[in-house]
């Protein structure tokens, strides 16, 4: 072979070597860029948000992108983005900087809302309410400590709302369903609810054990237990219902109900009429309850899984009230709003028997029952978390997403294939190559090196 041919071979080999080095350099920069961003934002207008925390990638796209007004940015979203990302997308959409911004719904979410509320009970607690249209997907409740609960499906039995009560909850409380993660921050706002309860009752086992139950759950009880017309046992100092002093008033006795109680409720107080308290004229006036029938207790039921059946109760015929508990189709616990206050009516008499004559769990159940009754009567939110939430859309992220970007485009075309964006912006911003090109780059580089090596060895050079 001539020296000229050898020189050509050498130039070709040099070209291969340099090409391999350049390709490897590009690959290295691609990897470097990917590692810096955690996950590189796609340069394509098909912008995939894999996690709710891709705000940085979105920012890169928005700040560096040279998209034109006539471009269309279509994002197939596998999850509902977090609130800041949604807000950014909404701004992008409204401003027209990146052209038309639309999205394709690959989340599987069908619109759900989550509220997280600190309860007003003294021992704290969090209440979660999840509202979602019909779905058969798995719902997982979790926080930073792991999975707390999982529900198989929303059956018709429970409708479209699911509710949890958490005695304690860690950071990062979230619900995952249909590929979407709904979260609402757990506020560390101080619980300002007044934990004082006024009990209107006469001395007896019911008043004694109701007060004991409330005190066991941390409520501060106030009452005047009249032993004689002149002498009484005072619990606490105040006996007049006061909105600023009492979180709720519990009426156990149909007599001696102060007339100021009606004004207390209408001004925003909470009241619980229980047992014979429901027979007080005020309860009848407030609750429009009717019915004078007493349903006898089922003997032995206190030791069963339905201990309330073991208590004698007043039977209601209620109007304009929300039944909270039913037995045999008849409401036994009702709730109603009165003015700005709330009232609860529970027909069960002698609930102390649940504690004394029930199962070993009866004492705790009785205390929980009364804790829940008073909690249900609390008229104002214990801590308005959602009102103070900087990202209010987190209560319903899907709805917020639709509000920001409009309804999603159909994900699949008539033929079933995934529709691609109509316009792809051309100019590169930042590092243009996606990590997906890396294997090709490396492979090409190795190929070039292999060709160079083969050429060199075939020339007889080492």
């Amino acid at each position: 072979m001539t020296s000229l041919a050898w020189a050509g071979r050498r130039r070709f080999e040099l070209f291969c070597r340099l090409g391999a080095i350049v390709l490897l350099g590009i690959a290295a920069l691609t990897v470097w860029s990917h590692g810096r961003a955690g996950r590189t934002a796609s340069r394509s207008s098909v912008f995939t948000i894999a996690t709710p925390d891709s705000l940085r990638a979105l920012r890169d796209l928005v700040v560096r992108n040279e998209t034109r007004a006539q471009d269309t940015l279509v994002m197939p979203l596998r999850v509902i983005p977090s609130a800041p990302v949604r807000a950014a997308l909404g701004t992008l959409h409204q401003s027209g900087i990146a052209g038309t911004v639309t999205w394709q719904d690959a989340t599987g979410a069908r619109g759900a809302a989550l509220t997280v509320e600190l309860e007003g009970r003294p021992q704290g607690g969090v209440q979660l309410r999840l509202a979602q249209p019909d779905s058969t997907d798995l719902v997982v409740l979790r926080d930073a400590g792991g999975i707390l609960d999982s529900i198989d499906a929303f059956g018709s039995l429970h409708g479209r709302v699911r509710q949890w009560q958490l005695a304690s909850a860690g950071e990062g409380l979230a619900v995952r369903l249909s590929g979407a993660i709904l979260s609402a921050p757990l506020s560390r706002t101080r619980n300002d609810t007044v934990h004082r309860v006024l009990v209107i009752a006469s001395p007896g086992w019911e008043s004694k054990f109701v007060m004991a139950a409330l005190e066991e759950r941390g409520w501060r009880v106030e009452s005047r237990l009249a032993v004689t017309p002149k002498a009484a046992v005072m619990v606490g100092t105040s006996t007049a219902p006061d909105v600023t002093r009492h979180a709720a008033v519990v009426v156990l006795d149909s007599m001696n109900v102060p007339t100021a109680l009606a004004a207390y409720v209408r001004r925003g107080g909470g009241v619980v009429f229980s047992g014979d308290g429901v027979r007080s004229p005020l309860a009848r006036e407030l609750m429009t309850v009717a019915g004078d029938t007493r349903v006898p207790a089922v003997p032995g039921a206190l030791l069963t899984a339905t201990p309330l059946d073991g208590l004698e109760r007043w039977q209601f015929g209620a109007r304009d009230a929300i039944p909270l508990l039913r037995t045999a189709g008849r409401p036994t616990v009702l709730a109603v709003r009165i003015g700005t206050g709330r009232a609860i009516v529970s027909g069960y008499r002698n609930t102390w028997q649940w504690r004394m004559m029930g199962t070993d769990q009866g004492q705790a159940d009785h205390a929980d029952w009364w804790d829940a009754l008073v909690q249900a009567a609390l008229p104002i939110a214990a801590s308005p978390i959602n009102a103070a939430d900087p990202a209010p859309g987190d209560a319903a992220p899907y709805a917020d997403q639709v509000a920001q970007l409009g309804a999603p485009q159909p994900e699949q075309g008539p033929s079933g294939e995934l529709q691609r964006p109509h316009t792809v912006s051309a100019s590169a911003v930042g590092w243009p190559l996606s990590i997906r090109w890396l294997p090709w780059l490396v492979g090409l580089a190795f190929g070039a090196l292999l060709v160079e090596w083969a050429s060199r060895r075939l020339r007889g050079e080492p």
């Binding site: 990897v31 590692g35 996690t51 005695a167 860690g170 002149k230 508990l325």
Partner: protein, 697 residues
């Protein structure tokens, strides 16, 4: 100088350079594989979860490449070295050195001189340095680049994995370098002598479970010097006033020693110096008292006379060893306010050391005749046992108590001893059946009898019927006051209200029967014998007919009365033990008639019961989300586990699993999720329109 060593030196250097190049190439190849694997993992093409797999694959590739290169390598022989030197020589090669080597390196001659001259003219060392640079620079650059890329790829992979599938719980691994005065230590547990157990060496344990009373010795390597820069304290874990008590730290040669005694409550020992702190959790297991079961006699009894022998037997078990057992017989004599009590021990049995008896059955017999019992005396028999625990004031194991009574001769009419004998029969009463027969007989004969005679006979039967009716009336109402007559004072407006009304001479139940048992103002009627009430009323009808001299009309009600009485006889019977005298307070009469009046008092508030589940969950979450050091996290878990052992065994068990996982470097997530579920801090609530929640049944 000879040229052969120089050529040999160059040959060795060339071989070294080749080995270094091969090594670098092999490592670089492995790095390349690692980079590719990391990127594939990042992009989700590779499912291998742990980086250790990628490192392993890279190492295997590197070793394979190295081996392949070494096998293929051509050894740098002296001839090759000589040829290489010739190439490095200035000017055209004359192959004198090569020829000289091929000729076997002769020391004399022109060839040797030419070779030496060639060697001398060549700067061999500079050429070797240049070759080293040429051969190793490229692989080294490749290696460094691959290393950087791998590092970036790994960090990207980790950050991406963290953002997509966050681990709920951290994997906490003990730092490798933890050698200090507290690591490792050695723990020795010496059980109390009465337990007859061997001392145990537990090594470097973080928690100890030992019998209360055991001696615990913790020791470790002590630094040289006069003083021990170490403090040790112990405190009760569950005590509210958990004051830590300092323990002396002794030196025994080159080791430090801390001694303490295991108690029946959980303890936490904390060792600390200026730099390290370590905790030892001590779970004291209390020695339980013997468990005694009385096997004989099996029930209480009443003896007619104080004669005979009563066999006694009891089964006893203990966790350590039994010391003695006996049957205690308490004999009570007397009545009213005068009683004498004496105690007799029967069947005492002792078990001596060193043999430990954990299970035994003791038997004895109680000879009643030797106890000098009198009628009315009561014997309480039970078995008692003590173990070898040295505390003599400690509680004993006790069985159930059986009571025997020596009957009084006068008490055989008491149902407390035997089923009550029937009350004395009023023999003057004529039974209803007899009255019916007499009435029917009179009815059959009345046509043949003069009317006055019929009336006289009929009225005589009416009187008998009335007496019988009154007798029945005594048992129609069972009244707490002891007043039993049905006709005691029932009249209109008398204020009595027993749930019955007197209409004519008959008694009728009020329609609103509720409240019969708890009416407030008079002697409550606790039961009404309905058949007898019916009989009573039928007797009234019969008696009235008989009084009017109409025996024929009296027969149907008399038959009804007889049937009702028969039904009553067929009813189930209750034998009462006897009733104390009853006094019914007339509440309305005495209400607020007292001369003294009470005063208004204030009641103190009661504290809230703790909510341990929520508090424990909050503590757990604080540790998990905080930046707790691994050792502190482990110690905290151990403390929490001990706290929860008593009231939340499932939670404590899950924490134990977490501690084990922590020690083994495994993922804690499953154990801690299980622990939180055991706490039950999450409750599903029935959804309602009422957003404040709904009370659960």
């Amino acid at each position: 100088m000879t040229s052969r060593p120089s050529v040999g030196f160059v040959a060795r250097q060339l071989r070294h350079i080749a080995r270094i190049r091969h090594g670098l190439m092999a490592v670089a190849s492995g790095m390349a594989v690692g980079v590719i694997a990391s990127l594939m993992h990042t992009m989700g093409w590779l499912a291998a979860p742990e980086s250790i797999w990628r490192v392993g694959a890279a190492a295997i590739v590197a070793a394979s490449v190295f081996a392949w290169l070494r096998i293929r390598a051509i050894g740098a022989t002296p001839l090759v070295a000589a040829l290489w030197i010739e190439e490095q020589s200035p000017g055209a090669p004359d192959f004198s050195l090569v020829t000289w080597v091929e000729e076997g390196c002769p020391s004399e001659g022109a060839l040797a001189r030419a070779a030496h001259a060639r060697l001398a003219a060549t700067d061999v060392m500079a050429a070797i340095r240049q070759l080293t640079y040429q051969q190793c620079a490229s692989p080294l650059v490749f290696l460094i680049g691959a290393l950087l890329l791998w590092w970036r790829a790994e960090s990207a992979s980790v950050s991406d994995a963290a953002s997509t599938t966050p681990r709920a719980m951290p994997v906490v691994v003990e730092p490798a370098d933890r050698k200090n005065v507290l690591h490792p230590w050695d723990i020795e547990v010496v059980p109390p002598s009465y337990a007859m157990r061997r001392a145990e060496r537990l090594g470097d344990a973080s928690s100890v479970r030992a019998l209360a009373g055991s001696r615990l010795v913790v020791s470790g390597a002590a630094p040289s010097g006069d003083t021990l820069p170490l403090t040790a304290t112990v405190r009760a874990i569950r005590s509210d006033s958990g004051q830590a008590v300092a323990l002396p730290v002794d030196r025994d040669g080159d080791r430090w020693l801390v001694r303490t005694t295991v108690q029946g409550i959980p303890l936490a020992m904390v060792f600390a110096n200026d730099t390290v702190r370590r905790q030892l959790v001590i779970e004291g297991v209390a020695d339980t008292v013997p468990r005694v079961t009385l096997q004989a006699p099996i029930r209480d009894s009443v003896f007619r006379t104080a004669n005979g022998t009563v066999p006694l037997a009891a089964a006893i078990t203990d966790d350590i060893g039994l010391a003695n057992a006996l049957f205690e017989v308490v004999i009570t004599s007397g009545e009213g306010e005068r009683f004498t009590v004496r105690t007799v021990a029967v069947g005492t049995q002792r078990w001596s050391m060193p043999a430990l008896t954990r299970r035994a059955t003791v038997r004895a017999s109680l000879d009643l005749a030797t106890l000098g019992l009198q009628p009315g005396d009561v014997l309480h028999v039970r078995a008692m046992a003590r173990d070898h625990h040295p505390d003599r004031d400690r509680d004993l194991g006790r069985s159930e108590t059986r009571a025997f009574r020596i009957a009084r001769p006068s008490e055989y009419d008491s149902v407390a001893v035997e089923p009550a004998p029937p009350p004395a029969v009023d023999t003057s009463l004529i039974s209803q059946r007899m009255l019916l027969l007499l009435t029917q007989k009179l009815d059959r004969r009345q046509r043949a009898m003069p009317r006055p005679e019929v009336i006289r006979e009929s009225q005589r039967l009416a009187r008998d019927q009335a007496r019988l009716r009154l007798a029945v009336g005594d048992v129609v109402f069972q009244r707490l006051s002891g007043e039993s007559s049905a006709e005691h004072a029932h009249s209109a407006g008398d204020g009595h209200d027993h749930g019955v009304e007197l209409q004519g001479g008959k008694l009728t139940l009020k329609s609103e029967g509720a409240g019969l048992l708890d009416e407030g103002n008079d002697a409550p009627v606790i039961a009404i014998n309905q058949p007898l009430l019916e009989a009573y009323n039928a007797m009234w009808d019969a008696g009235r007919a008989l009084e009017q001299g109409d025996p024929h009309a009296a027969i149907p009600p008399m038959q009804r009365a007889l049937e009702a009485i028969e039904r009553s006889r067929a009813a189930s019977r209750l034998y009462l033990r006897g009733r104390p005298p009853q006094v019914i307070v007339d509440i309305a009469k005495v209400r607020l008639t007292g001369r003294d009046t009470g005063s208004t008092a204030s009641r103190s508030a009661r504290g809230a019961l703790p909510a341990p589940a929520a508090a424990r969950d909050r503590r757990l979450m604080t540790w998990l989300t905080g930046s707790l050091a691994p050792a502190a996290f482990r110690d905290s878990l151990a403390l929490l586990r001990i706290e929860a052992l008593g009231d939340a065994p499932a939670f404590a068990s899950a924490l134990g699993s977490a501690i084990d996982a922590l020690a083994a470097g495994r993922d804690l997530t499953p154990s801690l999720v299980r622990a939180r579920r055991a706490l039950g801090v999450v409750q599903g609530v029935v959804p309602s329109q009422w957003t404040r929640g709904v009370p659960r049944q």
